[in-house]
Symmetry: C2
Subunit: 629 residues, 2 copies
């Protein structure tokens, strides 16, 4: 088997002087890799390689010099390692230097190559107010309001900001900075603080919470932190969490407290790293699935968990940070992005925003692979959404040697005549298979002929007859007589036990991928399109981003498009939240997304059951145009 | 001296079956008297005596039968005591029966004969929602929102109402009543509660707080309660209260807590009497002077107390009851009416609303007599406002035998050849003089010739020569040689000490009335009008309403207009608050009043000082066309 050009390899990139590190699929651009971890690289051209602003200097590793590089850099510069990060594809581990941001870019590349005009909802306006005198007895608030009106801002103000006005104005000798968020006068600060304006975007995953602290003056992230969702002790998935609220009188309160604490923990670390005070965070944007945002807002999620699956509310919703208990400016709006349905939540709305599916003419597919596979299919003309009940196989559950993507997890598997080649997370021996590794091994078994289209593994005898001996020798029967394939022996394994994939594991994966592929098939039928019509397939989410696109194709998780059309888009939910934070225009687009998406409920749909059965099997290798073993 | 037709007498009216009692100036209509204490009498015609709805039955006392009565009632009915309350002038003590309100009048007479169309800001809408099913997976909130949209209400909803939605909708089997206040969805209640909708209006006086609980379905008051402002222990007037906040670190908090407690006490009694739950009060409207509303809202009033006299805010302002701590529905808006200036507050805005000064073509004068005399002068064309520093004389302070209007206070004084005739509050011997009694005795001394125009009292000798002996014998010199007039001897007095009015008291009153009359003169000069141009003079406030209009004229507190043009308008601030509660249209008018009123600051105005000196003396009796003694 020759290595395919769409390598399954992960590469490590080290950014300096920020000293940040990330692992991305080989072939990602440096610019996107930086973006995904919230590291700002200057840019105004929209990633077209023309503005010449996204320059980085390669310190170790050697990406090819591109045509765009030759236009922008001198021979000396090229020799010194300068490259345009939006063009530089990373094929091997690499270290590079990112210059500090110069000036205030008024636009930036975010999401999946989207060109975002910066217009945050937060405005800071320095005001030199005329002091109060007998000839000008306007009230404190009217004085501020009128000055803001002159500056083009129409505002209203609540109790808290009014209460602080008299002392602030007089102590600051009438020189103050007004903080306007939308139409709300959120604060009046002494002196000129107009240069310091910050916001935070959150992606609340069932497992992981990611927060970005953004400098709203230029849209650049100053810090990115993540944490495990503190609700995990009450259950791994949304159904377990919902059950907890149903079975315990104070369950809702416990889960709400937990997620709030997690957000505040992440906030504390963001603020500490960026040297920003809580009161300087004037707006927060939140993406997450409906259950997560319900629990954050203290909404009872019970009706999400049982038929007919009804959320409390789906609209974009803003609440004062103080009312929620988030430790930012107490008057800061916390904006929760809207939902499409109980199981297609704000995380997918953010993903649609970040990928721009609804702004493009061709049909695109966005799949967030997880316990629920959320599927978006559409274009500027029409968009459909659904959620497919994949079950926990992708998360490593119900798989004999399954595990989460953590140190010791096999994340990449390749088989060839020499045997098995593994990539393991962390510098440790393997202890189990995470989701991307599971997909890889099943796809590789299929490509080597060890699995037939129905998912049957060859018997040890048949394997010996049909595949190279270094592979065949790994096919055995377990004590219960179940066929299995050995990935690592007890000696190679970090746990002292062998790591295997069994026929049963393969069946689990077939059910999981069948649900998602079935959902995709239903949506494609409704739109009356075929795989040939699909311009791009975006794999999103903490798991989806790590799937080898080739493996996804081979097992039939996604339709059989040319592999270069399948793209990992990283944490598109977090990216969408960030876009909605830095651009009010984009936030308005996000607000309108649910109204422009048709949600299809798969439960009880006969065509879904039919499609599910049809796609349980693996696609014929001929259809994929990949070389069989 | 013949009794004048504009009798200074107070009469007592007893309303049944409500068992409510009030004392009003003789000549008031029964309808207005009921209105001033918040007792609802049906009416739709605007008090013109034509709708025939405001019928009451006289049980004791005998008001004359009017032309309007003859048109509406049969001879039998007239004989049985039926009268139209809007026509029935009360000249003697009287008991009458008020029929219970029939149906829902959509208009009512409020304020000073204003015809108010009822359109409260609170709407209750019963909704039979389609249950959630797989074919209709709209969220709970969207289901309610869409149904309200169909019913013509565009709403937004906050955290609290959303949190309660899932349980309420399902427990109530999808039959619920939405409470919409303005554009805010304030509550969703199980079942059909659309018939129960209530609001409360408050007038927060420095001394007294008055609350009305209004049935918003028909605008009628269900209960009226008052209480002493609990801040009184920190000082009697606004300056003392402001000083308390400046001298004590927790002074603002103490005063805020006190007024909140007072309001909650009044609320508790209103709710108990009307058998209404706190959660059924969906809106509160507050009038009061700027210092009182500042303290309620927790605004530092310091800048109100010192030059240049600046409030924190003057606009109409709404805050959630929960944020303030008022024990009504936690999401109910508490609407504080706007202010015109630091010393012409929401109480005067409410008074302008209730009297309709700005809706009428002729020029009218509204005076709220107190420590500060607030003065409004104008018409639909142009309105001016100011506050005159009258000092505490009208409240009985700095007057040797002065006291507040409480049991034992002399409230009415008449002098004639037979001597002194007193009316005393309560069924007790006199113990002092309240403001209205003070004005009466000074006016009567002036009319009898015992005071000259400059305010000099006759010496005992001159008195003996010029006035009837029963009056002259009461003029003496005090131990310090100050001239004084005896109102009640030690034997007649309830305190065992004689009650006198001294030359010094008269000087205090001259200063107090001079400030107000001077303020009025400045405003009249600015408008370039004379007394002949004044259509009406309204005396407002807890004190102003009890002034004998004739006395006010005689001492020159108000310009020398024919006495029938001087009208007591009761608690016009409370009445304005009530109007703003039951009519959103009227509230919008109130909101716009400050922008349509020019505030004149008297401090440091040379023309005010000139006017003050000019009006210190009493007007010549010839100018008043009243018979001298």
């Amino acid at each position: 088997m020759p290595p395919t050009s769409e390598s399954a390899d992960k590469v490590t990139i080290h950014f300096k002087p920020q000293d940040r590190q990330t692992r991305v699929p080989a072939g990602s651009t440096l610019f996107n890799a930086a973006n995904w971890i919230g590291l700002a690289i200057d840019s105004t051209c929209g990633g077209m390689g023309t503005c010449g602003k996204c320059r980085v200097r390669i310190l170790g590793g050697d990406p090819a010099i591109t045509q765009a590089d030759r236009k922008v850099f001198s021979a000396d510069e090229l020799a010194a390692g300068w490259r345009l990060s939006c063009r530089a594809e990373v094929l091997t581990d690499l270290t590079c230097e990112v210059p500090r941001l110069m000036g205030n870019p008024k636009a930036a590349i975010m999401g999946f190559g989207k060109h975002i005009i910066l217009n945050p909802n937060v405005h800071k306006v320095f005001l030199k107010l005329p002091p109060a005198v007998l000839e000008d007895q306007r009230s404190d608030y009217e004085r501020v309001r009128a000055a803001l009106d002159d500056a083009g801002f129409e505002v209203v103000a609540g109790l808290a900001v009014r209460r602080r006005l008299p002392k602030t104005l007089r102590n600051a000798d009438w020189n103050v900075t007004a903080v306007v968020v939308g139409q709300q006068l959120v604060a009046v600060e002494p002196g000129d603080t107009s240069k310091r304006s910050f916001g935070v975007s959150f992606d609340i995953g069932t497992t992981t919470v990611v927060g970005l602290l953004i400098n709203l003056a230029n849209g650049s992230p100053l810090s990115a932190k993540s944490a495990l969702n503190g609700q995990a002790i009450y259950g791994a998935d949304v159904i377990a969490r919902i059950s907890h609220t149903m079975l315990n009188a104070d369950g809702l309160q416990q889960l709400s407290d937990r997620i709030l604490r997690t957000l505040n923990d992440v906030l504390a670390r963001l603020l500490a790293e960026a040297q920003v005070a809580p009161e300087e965070i004037y707006e927060v944007v939140v993406a997450g699935n409906a259950t997560m945002t319900h629990l954050l807002l203290g909404f009872d999620p019970e009706a999400i968990g049982v038929e007919p699956f009804i959320p409390v509310a789906e609209d974009m919703f803003s609440v004062r940070a103080a009312e929620l208990g988030l430790t930012v400016h107490p008057e800061a709006p916390v904006v929760v992005l809207p939902h499409i349905g109980a199981y297609v939540g704000a995380d997918l709305v953010a993903g649609i925003l970040a990928t721009g599916i609804q702004q493009k003419p061709g049909v695109r597919l966005l799949v967030d692979v997880g316990t629920n596979g959320e599927i978006i299919l559409g274009s500027a003309a029409r968009t459909l959404a659904t959620a497919a009940p994949a079950g926990p196989a992708f998360e490593g559950a119900r798989i004999q040697d399954g595990m989460r993507a953590a140190d010791g997890a096999i994340e990449v598997v390749k088989l060839d005549a020499d045997g098995v080649h593994l990539q393991v997370i962390g510098d440790v021996p393997p202890i189990g298979l995470c989701g991307s590794g599971l997909l890889d091994i099943v796809a590789q078994l299929r490509l080597t002929g060890l699995l037939d289209a129905s998912g049957q593994m060859l018997s040890p005898e048949a394997a010996a007859a049909q595949v190279p001996p270094r592979l065949a020798e790994r096919v055995t029967l377990t004590a219960e007589g179940v066929k299995s394939f050995l990935l690592a022996s007890a000696e190679q394994s970090g746990s002292g036990r062998p790591i295997q994939i069994t026929q049963r594991d393969i069946r689990e994966l077939q059910f999981a991928k069948g649900a998602i592929a079935g959902g995709i098939a239903v949506l494609m039928n409704v739109l009356a399109i075929t795989a040939a019509d699909l311009q791009e397939i975006y794999l999103a989410g903490s798991f989806g981003s790590y799937i080898n696109p080739q493996s996804a194709r081979v097992i039939g998780l996604v339709p059989p498009v040319p592999v270069e059309r399948i793209k990992a888009v990283g944490n598109s939910a977090g990216e969408g939240a960030r876009i909605a934070l830095v651009s009010f225009r984009e936030r308005s687009i996000a607000q309108a997304i649910p109204a422009n998406v048709e949600y299809l409920e798969l439960s009880g749909r006969a065509d879904f059951n039919d499609a599910f059965i049809e796609v349980l099997a693996f696609p014929p290798l001929e259809a994929l145009a990949v070389p069989a073993a």
